[in-house]
């Protein structure tokens, strides 16, 4: 057994070297717990606007709610006695967010364009080409803005036999009115804007937030009275309607 000692010693050395080579991975006991698959995923808030529009009683346009609405009203050559209406459809695309939705109407111009002889006979001034605000149309167009939300639950049939429903383009007497008057008086005289936080349920005392996945309807009707006279001839008024949904 004496002879084996050197071998034993050298084997021990090899063993030690080998073990040393392992230290990087097997230095000691270890345990690992992995919490994998953690995630955070953001919601979305995307307002879409559409409408159904009538002109002198005829349906002229339907637009599904979209991110890119063009003008709702684009009416040339209206004459006294004309009337129209668009019920604007608002839709909130989101998973969980109930936003505050506001509407801003800004009159951008109320222009004379040109002064016809008939207009001058009606005491209008000559057109000032530099002035975008020398027209008389906005003062003479009457608009009604209202919540076209007739509650189906209170099913009702009018005397004319038409059953009302939400977004039906008909201003039912029970539907809350936001504004009734001239387009000119709707907006602030200096900023030319009108602004309102829309109420998802205008029958309550507070301004209710919109719920995602539902349709809300705002009626916007207009009428140029038949007795308006010649003073509005060739006048043009332009306006923007801006809807904004904001997470609160």
């Amino acid at each position: 057994m004496e002879s084996i000692k050197p071998l034993l010693m050298s084997l021990l050395t090899i063993g030690a070297v080998t073990i040393a080579g392992w230290t990087g991975t097997l230095a000691s006991f270890s345990d690992t717990e992995i919490s994998s698959g953690n995630y955070l995923e953001a919601d979305r808030l995307d307002l879409k606007v559409g409408w159904d529009e009538y002109y002198n009683g005829n349906h002229i346009e339907h637009k599904d709610p979209t991110d890119d609405p063009g003008p709702i009203f684009y009416l040339d050559d209206i004459v006294p006695g004309d009337y129209g209406e668009a019920t604007i459809i608002l839709y909130v695309d989101s998973q969980t967010i109930n936003p505050l939705v506001s509407m801003i109407i800004e009159v951008k111009s109320n222009d004379e364009n040109v002064a016809t002889d008939a207009e001058k006979d009606a005491n209008d001034n000559d057109d000032n080409p530099e002035d975008q605000w020398d027209g008389e149309l906005a003062q003479n167009i009457n608009v009604v803005i209202w919540y076209d939300i007739y509650d189906e639950g209170d099913s009702d049939t009018d005397q004319d036999g038409i059953t009302e429903y939400p977004g039906d383009n008909i201003q039912d007497p029970t539907e809350p009115v936001i504004y009734d008057g001239s387009l000119y008086n709707l907006v602030d005289p200096t900023t030319h804007t009108f602004s309102i936080d829309l109420d998802a349920d205008p029958y309550t005392q507070v301004v209710d937030l919109f719920e995602p996945g539902k349709y809300y309807y705002i009626g916007f009707s207009w009428k140029l009275p038949s007795n308006v006279g010649d003073i509005v001839q060739t006048d043009t008024c332009t306006f923007d309607i801006t809807f904004t949904a904001t997470q609160t």
């Binding site: 021990l12 717990e33 919490s35 953690n38 995630y39 955070l40 953001a42 919601d43 979305r44």
Partner: protein, 228 residues
């Protein structure tokens, strides 16, 4: 000492086999069979956690060796915040413990119109890293000494920054009041807090850019037996 020697021999022979080509001269064999080692027991790490979302408790998970994800939050939005305090336990010996945070994806998922208006590009379905959420989540990882799910005065911040900035591996200090990094003692409970929040706005930017974005991440704790 005898037993240890014998085991070393066995290991030594195994190693020597590789070199038999050169050491094939004399040989003798002594068999020492039936040696037994009973290890002190493998180090065992377990975790549990309590989680809050917008101030409300949403999850409690009991001590486990097989944790699933801690954070599984859909539909987060600007102004949201949350926190999980993770408690850590080691058994069968003191251990040094590391925490690793690894971001696995930061995806745009899809593009909404407000998101595009905010300057985002259309989602690339093949790219898991084209989102903006991780860059806009504020994260604080800290030593929640009293395990109350709140950052108290004096509690040590381990790392803070946006989610994409807090990735990394951190050696945890069982006693931040000393200058040394102290190992975890067996059977003690230690707490690490992980809080997150999404700002309501981005200075000079538009927070809509994070809409529908999703980021995924792993949190790995490793306990390694402390060799004294």
């Amino acid at each position: 000492m005898n037993k240890l020697l014998a085991t070393m021999l066995t290991i030594g022979f195994a190693a020597a086999m590789v070199g038999t080509g050169t050491i094939a001269m004399f040989s003798d064999t002594e068999v020492s069979a039936g040696n037994t080692f009973t290890a002190a027991g493998p180090i065992d790490l377990t975790i549990d956690w309590d989680e809050y979302y917008n101030g409300e408790p949403i999850e409690h998970v009991d001590e486990t060796s097989g944790p699933g994800p801690i954070f599984t939050l859909s539909d987060v939005k600007p102004g949201d915040y949350g926190e999980a305090t993770i408690s850590l336990h080691v058994y069968f010996g003191d251990a040094k413990v590391t925490m690793k945070v690894e971001l696995k994806s930061n995806d745009d998922v899809s593009s909404t119109e407000p998101e595009l208006k905010a300057g985002d590009s259309e989602d690339n379905p093949d790219d898991l890293w084209d989102g903006e959420l991780a860059q806009n989540i504020d994260v604080t990882i800290w030593w929640d000494a009293d395990g109350d799910n709140e950052i108290d005065d004096g509690e040590k911040i381990i790392k803070e920054g946006k989610l994409n900035e807090v990735v990394g591996e951190y050696l945890l200090d069982a006693d931040p009041t000393t200058t040394d990094i102290d190992p975890f003692k067996e059977c003690e409970t230690y707490y690490v807090g992980f809080s997150w929040s999404i700002p309501e706005s981005i200075p000079g930017g538009d927070i809509n850019i994070i809409q529908t974005d999703k980021c995924t991440f792993d949190i790995t704790f490793t306990a390694e037996q402390e060799v004294s």
